[in-house]
Amino acid sequence: MQAFEYDSDWTELGVYPVKTENDIVRVRQMARQYAKNFRMGIVEQTRITTAVSELLRNMYQYANGGEVTINQGYVEEHNALIFTFEDQGPGIENLDLAMSDGYTSGGGMGYGLPGAKRLVDSFEIRTETNTGTLIRLMKWK
């Protein structure tokens, strides 16, 4: 599975391990804080924080944790806040299914992935069975 590329002009705001539910809370708070520093309005803050929350929970629930990298940088002329999620979990076998509304393998609502995609400006996902899952979210300013 090909890792995401990082533009050398981007600023790395932080790298956070996600192992426990407390980490989820902490990274979610960081996400909100960065969105605030980015001068996003309350609606945009809430949207990006919620999307981040979904991916953190999935990472915790299905992949036994992982790592999140937060960057700020220019993407196609947009000033963007960029969240990269990386886990070494089981991967997602049927991605189309997982990305569809209402599909869950774990008694959830099945809206985490498709919902997160709707909440952000850019959503990329790479996954490989037995290797892990990589997701990158971007929110333009």
Binding site: I24, T46, R47, T50, S53
Partner: protein
Amino acid sequence: MEDKLDLKNVKQRINHIEEVLSSVAAGDLDVRVDSTVEDDLTGIEEAINILIEDLTYELKQSINMQNDLQEKLKKIQDQQKTIVQQQEDLMELSSPVSKVWDNILILPVIGTLDSQRTQIMMENLLQKIVDTGCTMAILDITGVPTVDTQVANHLLKTVTSARLLGADCIISGISPAIAQTIVHLGIDLSIIRTKATLQDAMIYAMKQNKKSDALITSNLDEIEEREE
């Protein structure tokens, strides 16, 4: 005038210096170079003694510092334990269910709804419904910063369970930003009765109370009339 260096003596003294230095190297800082005569070599012997003194002093310093650090570390660890404990306490405290009015329970939810807390919250509420026989419960989530699918799922489950126990739930305090986000997530909360503010929810619940009171009264009247 200084004594002339006596070669045989010098060899012995250098041997002695070597011994002292290897003792120091092995960690013995109590040894010193003994000099009996004063000559060209004495300066070196004294310099070595001073070095050993310095070394002893620095070592003591660093041991002290290490002890200090260890003490501080222990303090921090203790504090951390206390914080975790307080968090756990807070978790129970911050889901207090109370009966605020005839037939109406209120559960103000504050902070982050992780699964552990939601579990406790749900249990508290359901227990209270059973204990009090209230048929209305207001869950106020003004103090919840993020409502994601998991939180929504828990809310839905809580409302459904409460309904099974005969209580209707109203959820209040969903901010406009959260409302929009829920819609984008795609979650359908339409089966839950929601009100913008706690006050709205209270007014609604009290009206329902009156209605059911009125209904009961009129039903009783009917029964009485029939019996007459």
